[in-house]
């Protein structure tokens, strides 16, 4: 093969394979995981044993969508509004009335990770974002 063609091929290969590397160098963002904020009026009032999420925080980071999906099915299909957590606490299965009561900071909470990881759920096509509603109802 012609030398120039081989070199052009290798250069194209190297550029394509290293897209993540050179785009990270050119990107203005530092790429670190975003800090979600727990600084809301309701969360600030929680203390001691009350300072907890519906389920374990580590679990919620990876699986909150499973919980919301289960809630959706139970509420809409079964009509069950009561959710019993692993630790026995009972919660009202409602995104707007339970989740947003504490996490009333949509932009600094939900949106932080969703934007970072480019996850675009359709929650907000029906549910009202807490900021727009002026805090949790």
């Amino acid at each position: 093969m012609k030398k120039t063609n081989v070199i052009i091929g290798i250069v194209i290969f190297a550029i394509l394979v290293t897209v993540p590397f050179w785009s990270a160098i050119l990107s203005p963002a530092n790429g670190a995981a975003p800090e979600v904020s727990f600084d809301t009026p309701v969360i600030n009032q929680l203390s001691g044993d009350d300072y907890k999420c519906v389920e374990d925080v580590e679990w919620m980071r990876a699986h909150h969508m499973d919980l919301l999906s289960d809630w959706k099915v139970e509420v809409v299909r079964e009509g069950t509004r009561m959710y019993v957590a692993e630790d026995g606490t009972e919660y009202l299965a409602s995104l707007q009335n339970t989740c947003f009561e504490c996490h009333s900071n949509y932009e600094d909470f939900c949106l932080k990770c969703h934007t970072y990881s480019d996850v675009n759920p359709t929650c907000w096509e029906c549910h009202v974002e807490p900021n727009v509603a002026g805090g949790a109802a």
């Binding site: 030398k3 530092n30 969508m65 959706k72 990770c113």
Partner: protein, 350 residues
């Protein structure tokens, strides 16, 4: 069947190493930081080494006997794509081969009937599964840019959300290319086992990449649709690796507990990157260097000199006649060229 089993054993061994390393020994730094860098360096360096090695080998004479009529007399129709004599034709032929696997589309099945006749049958499954698998794999890798780029470019989001993930099940979209990749590679694996002639010629190194990619796609789908993982933590790891931000990687690995399915997926991908340049998977580069595909059939129009021919001293008849033309003329031998008074050879008359 034995070879397929050995291939599975190798892949499970890699999974076992990942499990022991991450879950039992807590070597997240080895599997999350050292291994991926080793893998990507091995991949790029090995890939380029293989190309350079191939580029050094002698190029054969241009091959005129590809599947199409070569350029001939005016009233014989040339097949300009299958047997091109121009650069453009070669580019079209290469593009059809690289993007659509044209030569696999020629595949047919030969069988001997009970009467002893040979019959050829339609067999495009290899082409179809291969095409689905390769495009699915490419688009899935493209989609994975979202784990390495911050901010995620709009065209990646558009592709992932609007086209690839246009269909939703429950609260989450289904990435079609991921499922096509998994279906395609599984079909290729089953085809290899199902056709006895293909199974007969299949070695461990034929099964291993198939099983490896099948497990990569399988763990990926498992993680996305069933078990779920902490995507933010995984992306922090990915961006940290891409930007060589070692303190960020170490902090991510220390802070977050990433699921074992992710470590299985990630370790298998690293294994694939390391294995790639040593294996038949190098057809990715080799296809561009196929002598029957990448050279124009212009043997009759352009003189191709063998570049490694030794220098040969020649004495052409033209030079011979020039040297002896006076003596030849004197004895009455016919001359092919005319000469002026100083003995210079004049251009030949028609």
């Amino acid at each position: 069947m034995k070879n397929a089993g050995i291939a599975f054993a190798f892949v499970f061994a890699i999974l076992a190493v990942a499990y022991v390393g991450v879950e039992l020994l807590g070597l997240e730094v080895v599997f999350g930081m050292i291994l991926p860098y080793v893998a990507i360096i091995a991949f790029i360096a090995g890939f380029i080494y293989r190309i350079l090695n191939w580029a050094k080998s002698p190029v054969p004479f241009r091959i005129p006997t590809t599947a199409g009529q070569q350029k001939s007399l005016d009233f014989i129709k040339q097949n300009k794509i299958e047997n091109p004599d121009t650069k453009l034709g070669v580019i079209i032929r290469m593009a059809l081969e690289v993007f659509l696997f044209r030569s696999l589309f020629r595949n047919s099945k030969a069988e001997v009937t009970e009467e002893g006749d040979i019959v050829y049958q339609w067999e495009k499954w290899l082409w179809l599964f291969g095409l689905l698998f390769h495009w699915g794999f490419f688009l899935t890798i493209f989609r994975h840019l979202r784990f390495f780029m911050d901010p995620v470019p709009a065209f990646v989001t558009f592709w992932a959300d609007k086209i690839d993930g246009a269909f939703w099940i429950g609260l989450q979209n289904i990435y079609l290319t991921g499922l096509i990749l998994l279906a395609g590679i599984t079909a290729l694996f089953i085809r290899r086992l199902y056709l006895d002639k293909v199974r007969y010629i299949s070695l461990v190194q034929d099964y291993f990449p198939v099983v490896l990619i099948m497990c990569i796609a399988g763990t990926g789908c498992l993680m996305r649709y069933l078990t779920h993982a902490d995507v933010t933590a995984i992306k922090a790891l990915g961006v940290g690796l891409a930007s060589f931000n070692f303190s960020s990687i170490l902090e991510t690995l220390a802070t977050y507990d990433i699921s074992m399915v992710f470590w299985a997926h990630f370790t298998l991908v690293c294994a694939l990157l390391i294995y790639f340049p040593t294996s038949k998977l190098m057809h990715a580069a080799g296809i561009f260097m196929s002598p029957t595909r990448n050279m124009a059939n212009n043997n009759r129009m352009v003189r191709h000199e063998n570049p490694w021919n030794p220098e040969v001293e020649v004495h052409s008849y033209q030079e011979y006649e020039h040297e002896f033309h006076q003596k030849m003329k004197a004895v009455g031998l016919p001359l092919d060229w005319d000469y002026d008074e100083e003995g210079n050879q004049l251009p030949k008359k028609n």
